[in-house]
């Protein structure tokens, strides 16, 4: 678990942590705000709807400059996947649907399955150490048959099959189950 907050939490002073965090947000904000060049050099179609996910970094398939932008239609075009599971954050059994995280990475032509994840609420985490070949980790946009709203920790959410694979329920993986996911920077 390597969020900025986590890095700072290791016996450093809280004020330092705070300034680092703030600096990270500034940088992120600049990235989002700056106009990006559009180079359509890949087969990845351009996003026509609202962009829900931005994949950048070490990828080979792009549709917006160095980045791959996905709208809901593009995501829904990917192989569907789903499962039901209990989560540490909700009561009862919840059904999640979407596509496999590995399929999203493949669609973007990612060179590895490790990426730096950023959420709408500016949560950041280094996603890694999970065997995506073995475990069907979801990028979910539907919960219990409905699209997930921002108020319900959507629109995109990384979800582990905690019930099917109890060994996945670790603190580290809980930190990797990012909600309100917006950016994946592939390493």
């Amino acid at each position: 678990m390597k969020t900025l907050a986590n890095q700072s939490s290791e016996r450093t002073s809280l004020s330092l942590m705070r300034s680092v965090l703030f600096g990270g947000f500034i940088c992120l904000a600049l990235t989002l705000v700056l106009p990006l060049p559009l180079w359509a050099e890949d087969a990845l179609p351009s996003a026509t709807g609202e962009v829900l996910l931005v994949v950048d970094g070490n990828i080979s398939h792009t549709n917006a400059g160095d980045e791959a932008h996905f709208d809901l239609a593009m995501l829904q075009a990917l192989p569907p996947a789903e499962f039901s599971t209990h989560t540490p954050w909700e009561d009862g059994l919840n059904h999640f649907a979407g596509t496999l995280l590995s399929d999203v990475l493949a669609a973007a032509g990612a060179s590895s399955s490790e990426f730096f994840a950023t959420a709408i609420d500016d949560y950041q985490v280094e996603f890694g150490g999970v065997d995506l070949e073995r475990y069907p980790v979801l990028l979910a946009w539907e919960q219990n048959g409905e699209l997930i709203t921002l108020r319900n920790l959507g629109p995109l959410r990384i979800m582990f099959p905690f019930d099917d694979y109890p060994e996945l329920d670790t603190n580290a993986n809980r930190a990797l189950a990012v909600w309100q996911l917006i950016t994946m920077s592939v390493r």
């Binding site: 909700e90 609420d121 921002l150 319900n152 603190n171 930190a175 309100q180």
Partner: protein, 638 residues
Amino acid sequence: MTDPSKPAGVGIERLVISVAATAAVTCVAILVVLMMQTNKARLQLQQDGVAEFNFVLQLEHNLDLLAMAALQHDLAEVTGPEPSLTRPLEQGAELIKRFDILYSIVLTARGRSWAQGFLIEAGAPEYLKRLRQFVAEFDTVIQPGQQVSSAQLTAISVRSQALSNAVYDIGIAMFQSKSVLRDEISSRLDWLINASWFFGVSFILAMLTLYFLLVRASGRAGELFQQSRSSQRQLKTALEELTTGDSQRKAQNRFLAAATHDLRQPLQAMQYYLAALEAHVPGERGRQILGNAGRSTDAAQSLLTGLLDISKLDAGVLEINLEEVDLDTLLTRLHHDFLAEATDRGLLLKVESRGFWVHTDPQALERILRNLIGNALTYTESGSVNLSVHEDGDGTVLVAVEDTGVGIPEHEQEAIFNEYYQIGSPEDGRAGAAGMGLGLSIVRRLTRLLEVSLEVESTEGEGTRFTLRLPRISGGEVTPPAGHVQRAASQDRLARLDIMIIDDEPAVRDGVSVLLQQKGCRVTAVSSVDEAREIVIQHDSIPDLLLADYQLQQGRTGLEAIETVRDEINEDVPAILITGDTSPGALDAARSAGLALLHKPVGASELFAAIDVCLQAGAGLPHAGMVSTPANEEPLIK
């Protein structure tokens, strides 16, 4: 440990060692696992609280951003038809987003909010209440299409900022408490891990040391085992040698007994002949020579007797028969027997009698005293040899043999009891007469057999005193000395005797015949059982006495001869059995037949005395305690 010649026990040892080693390795493995688990727990502990802390930071951050968004929305240029204090939220997508994010965390529509639970756990229910109140209050306001007033925006900004600061304080407090606890546990775990390391190293060292010691001890045990085995082998060899040696010694003893027996026959004959010759030697010189010859045969006889005694004592075949012994009778006889020798040497032989009776074996006691007296006479040049009897306080009688001889040096007073030990050099003149120095060693053996003590006091050049301590019997009867009387009487008795001699050795037979004839006896000499029977039948006469050698030709015995003769004449005539055989069988046979028994070599005077006693016994006279007492005769004691 790998030596294949090692005993089977080593296999078990190796098994034990391997089991112990396996256990030790298992212990180490468990220790390693424990350490790993502890380390994992330590790492998990370091992670503990991180997620919660992250949440606090996220919450604070989101509240800050909401406050900022509200502020920015309030300050935004309104491009509407008329300036208003209200701002339409269509242009405030950022504000709505930030509010929705806060809502998703604080008041998510579904189920229990993780954040709520956490904040309650963090001990901040008041804060949670405020937070929920804040979100609920503006939920209806901050919606797409709604108008929001500047005052409301200001309120959102201010309250959001306040909530941010509050959650920040909560986070600080939580962080501090968690980190303190964590550090404490962490340091304990560190200590545990260090202790584990220390324990592990110590344990391994201890096991290695133990293993080393065990291997060494095992090696040492193996060595000891080998040594023990070789010792056992040596012991076995020694035992075998000893056994063989013992059998060799037995063979030697048998040879010695046989040789002694064979030597006795001609020696005895010679004694008889010399005794018979005495009457035919008129010259003084001739008698002198004859006397010397007699002494030589006596010495040879003494030597043979000593040899036989020693071998019998060592063989342990001698039985002792304790009875009441009249010391006076014994001492008087001894005085009589040794008087001639003492006189020859010019010594005074004194005997003091006190009328004591003792409880002991008479034959053994007489043998002891004879040896002591003979020894005293041998080693005394001039002066006297005294036999004295004293009473000691504790119910014992002391019999002392005292001389005025050369004495025994103190350092030799133990050695004199050894075989063949003689004071002075063997070439020292008369020493040979002592019979190879066996006298005192026989005495020592006999006193041990009788369990009586023998004390030696001696001063070199002044004399020696041997003292025997014997158990006394009170109220004994004193028998007057009768030696001379007996001798005188026997002269008369012998003169009228009809004696039959049964002996297969012509020399002995003839010697005894001549000797007895000189005494006036009528002698019939035969060589076998059958001859004896024929003579008895032919002559139709009853002999007064039978004198038979035990071992006859063709495996016949003197016992048979005596019984045959007694059967023929139908009368138990007195009989004396003479034997060189010391086997218990001959003894028992003679005893059970009630015969007197004489052992070779038999001197002339001894023979006469035996005949005398035998006839007295036959005539119903009381026993004189002499050598030939029937049924009590010991082969050792003449």
